[in-house]
Symmetry: C2
Subunit: 371 residues, 2 copies
């Protein structure tokens, strides 16, 4: 016979999931109700408004996809890209590569712009690509690269795309709630995020938002969306503002209780306050790491406060230190991903986990393990 | 400012979600850990074994897809069907139609076998279709039609398919845990289910299982799987038995705690005992409904004990009664779906909700509302 799974109590300072607030954990355990229950439908409307606030958008089509961030990414691509479409994809880490995969599996053509891992997307290269590819319909890039801890200048990239009549498709998995992100002001057309990073909800949902221009492109499609589950024409019927909601799929009811509560916490604190808290704790962590002789992968101006990619000091055994942190301190920090495996650690200070206690704890534990 | 969402406490006797055990709700609220944490990986292995028990299979590839049942359906189709493939699809309710959608969005050809809603799939029609379409590679059907409360003879259908060298793709969303289902004995090649029906976990995950023959077909594909998120070649690297797990997507950690606990409850009770409990409570409900003059849509031999589709008595206002049940009794029963809207109610006795107290309560509340 198997036993109930009682997880260890960790401090989650990796690239996500991050520490989840006890308020959110409690919300998850509230009694399940039907996904067509009027009470549930009312809560869904609140989730939509709270997400609009988090994304800083008035987009009507702002909803949580009922699956993790990678499904949110796929939702954006399969709805906006048709076979034969050219998409300019910026890659400066793991997730730009995943965007390419998405474009190609739809039968689209991905024009790749490569930047070094740890560097932001270079706007000049983007400008050139936009000029060279007037047939391109979409510019896709990652706002906050979870694999490298770098943030790119989304505002500038979106302005350029608009000037070339391109839609923008933006990965905000790690930025939402942690660092300034202004969907309407910057003119982002399609955006996806995750719940397990700076929103400090559990993993499993992917907030997305689409501009009127994006919806226009979706409605003008000549081919059906290749995914039934992610087809926004159907999803809209379920999440739309209509009085009668069409059944599409069974919503993950309790996960949405958790998201509702986490977005409420964000609203209570205020977005600007959350952004400055992330910045403040990043500064404290940075000061402490420098005292330990640990430096950053990313140049100061492009660093994400919520995800600190630092170079593993020479001669230090990556896996051994992370195992000690986990076993002796119940502290999780992230390993490097892809090309950066073994070279960097990724120390997250995301959402609920971005607090002074975690900063001090992590520094002390690291100092102990490295001494 | 928005307030925390405190859901009403309902009794869920619709087509799902069904009542969730307090043990499962508590499990959801346990502290989140990382999706690559060794403790989590150990729990994943247990979830796999527990699912193998529930499905009665030794299939190595038996995992929960990180999204609801409709994504589980899509996972089976996008991996097994390639553009140009012929798939024989049996439709006797809403979900056979959704299977057709899936086949066509992949570029496959769906040969439809139609049976009346409320009737099981007719094996003779299937035999004829298999003979007429020797090019067919897959036979797809719904074991337990959630829209009509009917079960089809999966064992016979699978035997026929095998004789014609066809793989079988089976919807077991409503059957798993509630009514006999034997993946290996019956020779099912690909199967998907949901967590919110007879497993009495929350909605949001879709258990799937694939036979060696199915995996062979997936590995022999000439085209890439059109979905990155659902590509089993990638998912296997994450859930596979290897010591080093490749990062694919962030697993819905807390939802998996819930699934683990719900599968544990099933193991403790025993599958056969769970099946007879569903049968026993169905018999009690049936006796009571007959006393109220309410009869069943489905013939006795094809009725699902866990989902009772009954004809709405003449002159009775469908919506009014369901609203009264919800408002006055906090009791949810299901409306008809598609062609059966307004004609039937669907009364679920699924998983944790299949108990004598619910039977008596539902009968008393219905009697009151109909008097």
């Amino acid at each position: 016979m198997t036993n109930s799974f009682i997880p260890p109590v960790r401090t989650l300072m990796g690239p996500g999931p991050s520490d989840v607030s006890p308020r959110v954990l409690e919300a998850l355990s509230r009694p399940t109700i039907g996904h067509l229950d009027p009470a549930f439908v009312g809560m869904m409307d609140e989730v939509k408004s709270l997400l609009q606030y988090a994304f800083q958008t008035k987009n009507e089509l702002t909803i949580p996809v009922s699956a993790p961030g990678s499904a949110g990414m796929e939702c954006c691509f399969v709805n906006l890209v048709e076979p034969g479409d050219t998409v300019i994809v910026c890659q400066n880490g793991v997730f730009g590569g995943r965007m390419k995969e998405n474009v190609e599996r739809i039968g689209g053509k991905a024009v790749m712009i490569q930047d070094d891992w740890g560097k932001p997307v270079d706007p000049q290269k983007v400008e050139e690509a936009l000029k060279q590819h007037p047939e391109a319909k979409i510019l896709a890039f990652v706002h906050a690269e979870t694999s490298t801890g770098v943030q790119s200048d989304a505002e500038t990239l979106c302005r350029m795309a608009r000037e070339h009549d391109c839609l923008t498709l933006v990965d905000a998995v790690t930025s939402l709630g942690g660092t300034p992100l202004k969907v309407d002001e910057w003119g982002i057309d399609a955006i996806y995020s995750g719940t397990q990073k700076c929103l400090s909800c559990v993993p499993g949902l992917s907030p997305v938002s689409f501009s009127a221009r994006a919806i226009e492109k979706i409605k003008a499609r000549k081919t059906p969306v290749q995914s039934w589950f992610l087809d926004l024409n159907l999803v809209m019927g379920y999440w739309g503002g209509e009085s009668k909601r069409a059944y599409h799929h069974t919503a993950p009811v309790n996960a949405l209780y958790g998201l509702h509560e986490s977005l409420l916490i964000l609203e209570e604190e205020g977005l600007e306050q959350a952004w400055s808290r992330h910045q403040r704790n990043h500064a404290a962590l940075k000061a402490g790491l420098e005292r330990l002789g640990i430096d950053f992968l990313v140049d100061p101006e492009a660093r994400l406060p919520q995800l600190n990619a630092v170079n593993i000091p020479q001669g230090v055994d990556d896996a051994k230190i992370r195992t000690r942190l986990l076993d002796e301190y119940n502290l999780e920090i992230g390993a490097g991903l892809g090309a950066l495996a073994g070279k960097v650690w990724r120390i997250g200070l995301m959402g609920h986990a971005s607090n002074m206690k975690n900063v001090m704890f992590c520094l002390a534990a690291l100092a102990d393990c490295l001494s």
